[in-house]
Symmetry: C2
């Protein structure tokens, strides 16, 4: 898959031991890191789609810490990227401004997505521009097609 310009992904390493484990997520010396705005978690119940929106200023760094999600990105040139990520595939995905994105929780358990984003959320003037979750992108469906 060719990544949309500005999109990056990093495979995270879970260091397991008898006590549990430890996983580094983002360091300020990571090449893709720009700026710390805030961090939050977004939980999604099984089968639910949270999509689509984009930011004009903010860069997102997504990691799925619990369950599994299908993360979908697209731009106005019609390019689409998909990532299947979660506990069995620990991945960080960087989404720069102006790229629409959203996800579906595809695991039987609720998913937990951590975002380390470049800006703080502005409650008065959110940097969020929405399009509808279904039917907006030609030829794309959130449904799982048997194959």
């Amino acid at each position: 898959m060719d990544l949309i310009k500005g999109v990056e992904s990093k495979v995270l390493k879970y260091n397991m031991d008898d006590r549990g484990g430890l996983m580094e997520i983002v360091r300020n010396d990571d090449s893709f890191f720009e700026k710390f705005g805030q961090t939050y978690i977004s939980n999604t119940r099984p089968g639910v789609v949270k999509a689509f929106h984009m930011h004009k200023i903010q860069t997102d760094l997504f990691v799925c810490l619990k369950g599994e999600i299908r993360l979908v990105l697209f731009n106005t040139e019609g390019e689409i990227n998909e990532f299947f990520m979660g506990e069995r595939n620990p991945l960080l995905v960087k989404i720069p401004p102006n790229i629409y994105h959203g996800w579906k929780c595809i695991s039987a358990e609720e998913s937990m997505v951590l975002n380390v984003c470049s800006e703080v959320y502005n409650y008065d003037k959110p940097d969020e521009y929405r399009v509808r979750p279904h039917g907006y992108v030609t030829g794309f469906t959130w449904d799982t097609i048997d194959r």
Copy 2:
């Protein structure tokens, strides 16, 4: 409980809806926020103690995202602070340098602690100073005493 000098805690708010929920953790405009070094998760199996260590430079911001922990802090003046935190008590605890800290996973499921700390981990020269988990602090035990 009087907090040890420099220690702060913030009650986090989980905004639940039909799709799942969202919880802000740390914003760069939070009064207690100083600097972003990195973020990582540390998972702990039920009953396991990860303790004690302190940093000479680093400030930690701990949140327990899954399961529940007993977080214990102490300083060389003999002051002790304890926090019971996790899914049913979403709390952020700020631990400045020179305060020993550690936790026990007290939930039946594995706990997941997120740390948003002020420095990157230096693999060659870690800013970590350890003391033993049991018997170091007079009168303190990790055991649960029936009461």
